[in-house]
Amino acid sequence: MMALLLAAVLALVALLPGWFGGFPPGRLLGLAAGHAGLALAGVVPAALLGLALGVLVTRPSGRALRPAADAFAAAAQAVPPVVAVALAVPAMGFGWGPTILALLLYGIMPVLRATVAALEAVPPEARLAALALGYTPAGALREVELPLAWPLVLGGLRVALVLAVATAAVGALAGAATLGTPIVLGLQNQNQILVLQGAAATASLAFAAEGLLLALAGYAAARGGRSSASPASSAGAAQSRKP
């Protein structure tokens, strides 16, 4: 709930100067909606892809691809999103393209890592028991492995979403209209109010995303009768990278 509170305070900080000659609140809200939409549009397919890849490399048939997936994840971690956005510009031009590419790239990693870690943390005896009782491999995955892995995967989703909000902000440098736009405008024109508004709005959106996913994890944990969501959430944050 701390995160949602911070999000509300930062939103006030971002909107208030608008009535005193700063960036107009209406436009800021429009940019925020675009920003959130862009982050979601990038993170949803990326998360599905990361989940599928994570499942694939933990299956017996896909285990040989595991080193390649690890190497890919490590290499992508070493490239800051701002560089990824910049590198995509020559290929895709200014606008939404480079940002969407970077969003896809950076959305896959945390979900992939969390999925692999979570599936590997499933007690091997639970998996063996599922097979021994007569679940098909797909049935064991659906009914036993994924439900047990879900809280940790949710932690990865949270990291991915927060990272997506940050990456979308950087997208402003490549011409995408997001909450990064007032920051870039303010830096170019030495307008510190604009910079502050953009920064506060971006941070507010990130905290809102964090808070909502934490609430979702808490709800899932309460329904499942477990509290395994909290170690997962802190494990994921160390892997996050800011553009």
Partner: protein, 374 residues
């Protein structure tokens, strides 16, 4: 067909796709778009030859000591032929004309290199070291021989050699300063958290909250905040602190590095088995002795892991320093973005990636050593 083979076959297909895409383009100057040619058109016979050599790394039946060097030779041939083709294509054109590398080249190069690495994984450690040394030597010799001088990227580099070198040093200095500042913050906090576990929770929450703030927002927000602070306390200005420049970049970066460092120091200190600590105490070791002889050896590999994350993050995050007037390689990237000068952008971005990957690999090696001895 095994999964490893499938993966390598896919990489081989990516190399082929790269050769079919725009490989080299000739433009009248550094900013205007050029006329692109595919790999097969640009480097003619070298394209199929290199492709065949690279694909030798795919089949499992071909031994790795044959496949990996063959693929390496293929990649070297791609590089060399591209350099020569660039020189050839500029003959008779105005001096401002540029031969730029296309997306296909980068795709083919990365996929080819990945194929070499993937196949070399089957080699013994010695074999991998020899192959890596050979690859570096080849690259150095090609560079020395002037093979790449006609490429737009290299022309841009030659034109700005001093600037790029200065930016590189500046980048390292900024990252180093941020790392030092973060260590100054994280180590005492971790020690306090270790001594009084109650303190660890709030510290972790605060450092975790910093992680949620998008970096571009924190970098930017520090400018008005520092400006406000300097207005209140003008004396700080005489210490070299400014609202624009290295101060916001180092401060913001250090803010992000504090969490992985704090967590790894704390995790390392608590990594020691309580039973081992109790046994040491029972044998009459002092607290200092226990920390020195039991806790630290167990803590070092964990700490090295956190340090690796922090160093890689530092190199990446400092890039944004280019936005707030701190300089560094990020400044080149943003200047390139502003001018839509691809080569300039690459001059900033490529060293950042190389630095990050090299730091990651080096500290991983260190972790391995520490983990092995502990």
């Amino acid at each position: 067909m095994r999964a490893g083979e499938v993966g390598r076959a896919l990489l081989g297909l990516v190399v082929l796709a790269g050769l079919l895409l725009p490989w080299l383009s000739v433009a009248p100057n550094r900013l205007l778009p050029g006329v692109a040619a595919s790999g097969f058109a640009a480097i003619s016979w070298a394209a199929p030859a290199a492709l065949v050599a690279v694909v030798l790394a795919v089949p499992q039946r071909l031994p790795a000591w044959l496949g990996a060097p063959a693929a390496l030779a293929g990649v070297a041939l791609l590089l060399t032929a591209t350099g020569w083709a660039a020189a050839l294509s500029l003959e008779g054109l105005a001096p401002a004309a540029r031969a730029g590398l296309g997306g296909g080249f980068w795709l083919g190069l990365v996929a080819g290199a990945a194929l070499v690495v993937a196949r070399a994984a089957a080699l013994p450690g010695m074999g991998r070291a020899v192959l890596a040394a050979f690859a570096l030597l080849t690259l150095l010799l090609l560079w020395q021989a002037g093979t790449f001088e006609a490429l737009s990227l290299v022309v841009e580099y030659r034109a700005r050699e001093a600037v790029v070198h200065a930016a590189l040093l500046r980048h390292l200095a900024l990252a180093g300063a941020a790392l030092a500042l973060a260590l100054l913050l994280a180590v005492p906090l971790a020690w306090a958290g270790f001594r009084r576990p109650g303190a660890a929770g709030p510290v972790g929450a605060a450092l975790g909250a910093v992680q949620v703030v998008p970096a571009i927002a924190l970098f930017a927000a520090l400018i008005p905040l520092l400006a406000g602070l300097l207005a209140l306390l003008p004396a700080l200005r005489s210490l070299g602190l400014g609202a624009i420049g290295p101060a916001p970049a180092v401060l913001a970066t250090a803010g992000y590095l504090a969490l992985p460092l704090w967590r790894s120091v704390l995790g390392g200190l608590t990594a020691a088995d309580p039973a081992a600590v109790a046994a040491a105490r029972a044998m009459g070791m002092t607290e200092g002795g226990i920390t020195r002889e039991v806790r630290l050896p167990l803590a070092l590999p964990v700490f090295a892991g956190g340090l690796r994350v922090a160093v890689v993050q530092a190199i990446g995050l400092v890039t944004l320093g280019g936005l707030v007037g701190a300089g560094g390689l990020g400044a080149l990237v943003f200047e390139g973005l502003a001018q839509f000068a691809t080569d300039l952008m690459l001059l900033g971005a490529l060293p950042i990636m190389a630095l990050a990957l090299a730091a990651d690999a080096l500290i991983r090696l260190l972790e391995h050593r520490l983990g092995g001895s502990a």
